[in-house]
């Protein structure tokens, strides 16, 4: 931690609460613009309900298009939180401290957004209740538990509930800081949420032990969520390109790749927007880029394994699909763009420390990864369906309508708006984690060198 600057707890409070207790000049403008786009999107959703799914480009045989692609994309982004927060907490990685809260919030808001997409995609949204809840006592028809389309909301619901509780527990000490620094109604609000937190050894011990316990419990859920999302496709025998045995780990590693990249994007924006240069430092981007290099390489391995396994069986329809995906226009262009943005451009960039510690380059390379990861999901979902197959007599391919493109754009506005609203009420960087880091850091003289050190308590 060479770039660390020793700061007081008072300074930490004043800087990291500048977005919560004060309002940055750009905040109201950005929130107003985003609110406008979000409201237009909600309006379009009602228009779609009125006119039906005919306003989209969905048609036989492509029933799953941009909406489902974007659903999988946002579930993927949600894997940032637990990957960063739980794994780094369990391994006691020091550089996790400024990143964890942002990653957890990103998890929650991207899951909320992901959950909206099947509702939009369903057309008659209200009918989803029959699909999800065992409530139709009159007719005795229950949800089909054998379907991954039922397992999916259960897994995402579990992940969303768990992540929200995980975030809340870690927020309690910071809520006490806000309680101590506000007046009037806001003080009342934070007083209720802080539940009388005082910061005695018992409460701190529960924060530390509880954080590790919840991390350990959330990790298996994290792995299961995208595995189950992958089964939405993998258990469908009739669609080439979907019926793959390695889809579960392939989806999980892809989700980590896109999720951690999204955290990089978000950290850069937080540093620029709120000026938290003393807390979100180039060394944090450096550490995230190293992690991403490993994750991206593993993900590329799975991408080629998936391709290899599909060709190895010498199944004619499968080979035809791959030929279309890789060599036929326009899919070949998308495939090339996907490989370039998902791996070929960003990963070699990250091999250089100058890039890893350059925040602007990290920002743009992380955006690039997520363009690639969105395309990956699109290339998995759509070509498999749009291929000519027996007994399908409408061989039209799929062109998303402007409705669908707008709803995709809406989802980004929606997540950003939620993050900005959150930042006005709660701190985006965990204050107590930063303060703890100060308590546990020092420097040790070894020979003539002054070495910055971090102490770690021995677990009993």
């Amino acid at each position: 931690m060479q770039q660390r600057k020793s700061v007081t707890q008072e300074y930490t409070n004043s800087v990291l609460l500048n977005g919560t207790l004060e309002t940055p000049k750009w905040w109201p403008y950005l929130v107003s613009i985003l609110s406008f786009f979000v409201l237009v999107g909600i309006g379009l959703f009602f228009v779609q309900i009125y006119y039906g799914l005919g306003v989209t480009g969905l048609s036989r045989p492509v029933y799953w298009g941009l909406y489902i692609t974007t659903f999988v994309f946002w579930v993927g982004i949600s894997h940032a939180g637990i990957m960063i927060s739980a794994i780094l907490r369990l391994t006691q990685a020091e550089w996790r401290r400024p990143v964890t809260r942002a990653a957890e919030i990103l998890t929650i808001f991207s899951l909320l957004t992901a959950l909206v997409f099947p509702l939009i995609h369903a057309g008659r949204t209200w009918r989803i209740i029959y699909w999800l809840l065992p409530f139709d006592f009159a007719r005795g028809i229950w949800p089909n538990i054998r379907s991954p389309l039922f397992m999916d909301p259960i897994a995402i619901g579990t992940y969303l509930t768990g992540s929200t509780l995980f975030l809340f527990v870690a927020l309690i000490p910071d809520l006490a800081v806000l309680r101590d620094r506000t007046t009037g109604l806001r003080k009342g609000f934070y007083t209720i949420l802080a539940m009388g937190w005082r910061g005695n050894p018992r409460q701190w011990k529960m924060q530390v032990v509880g954080g590790i316990l919840l991390s350990a419990l959330m990790l298996p859920i994290f792995v299961s969520v995208h595995s189950i999302v992958s089964w939405d496709f993998a258990v469908t025998i009739g669609v080439e390109g979907w019926h793959s045995t390695i889809f579960a780990p392939y989806f999980v590693i892809g989700a980590v790749h896109s999720g951690v990249s999204a955290v990089v994007t978000m950290m850069a924006l937080m540093r620029w927007g709120w000026g938290w240069n003393d807390f979100i430092r180039p060394e944090h981007f450096d550490a995230l880029a190293r992690l991403l290099t490993v994750v991206a390489t593993a993900w590329l391995g799975f991408t080629f394994l998936e391709l290899l396994f599909s060709l190895y069986g010498l199944d004619a329809p499968e080979i035809a699909l791959r030929e279309m995906q890789i060599f036929q226009y326009p899919w070949n262009m998308l495939f090339l763009l996907f490989l370039l943005t998902g791996f070929i451009i960003p990963v070699p960039m990250w091999l250089f420390k100058r890039v890893r510690t350059n925040i602007a380059l990290m920002f743009w390379s992380s955006i690039m990864v997520n363009i690639g990861m969105w395309l990956e999901r699109f290339l998995i979902i759509v070509p498999g369906l749009s291929r000519k197959t027996p007994f399908v007599f409408t061989w039209e391919s799929y062109t998303p309508s402007w409705f669908e493109w707008y709803i995709l754009f809406w989802s980004f506005c929606w997540v950003t708006l939620l993050m900005l609203l959150f930042s006005k009420v709660f701190p985006l960087v965990p204050l107590f984690e930063q303060k703890e880091s100060e308590v546990f850091s020092d420097s040790v003289k070894i020979g003539r060198a002054n070495v910055p050190t971090i102490f770690r308590e021995e677990e009993e």
Binding site: I172, M195, G199, R202, Q203, M206, I221
Partner: protein
Amino acid sequence: MSKSILGLFLDPNSAADAMDGLKESGFEQGSFDVLTGTPYPEGAFGEHVPQHRLFRFPAFGAIIGFSASLFLTSATQLAYPLITGGKPILSIFAMLIIMYEMTMLSAVIFSVIGIIFESRLPNIHPSAYDPRITEGYIGVVISVEDKDLNKAKAVFEKTGSEEVKVV
């Protein structure tokens, strides 16, 4: 009548001295506590190391979640016994996935209940406190009878307390 006294310290060593002083003056270990704005290493102030039973909560939650999910997945299938492809009514592998998720969900919910309970929250009647604790000050708080008030105050003053508050 019992009163709550809070001594505020800037230096962790002085706060630790105050804790030692209170012990030496004959106050019971459970009657005083240290309040900080950040976690310090366990035993840094010579405080009583708290014991907890947090790990029982997720285990209990997991049992409840597993039982509820077993009931839900099997009962809904048995209530509408539609034989598909000559396969058994109860689809064990599909049930296991739902049961896994619900077991984990319940374990997480009970863990959070456990964390809140073991932190002794919500704390509706908090004793002496000062907002400066979340700004870096270290508070040593003790509940005493009127007769022991001066004895406790003397300990705080002797160990270099920045301020002593009586509530």
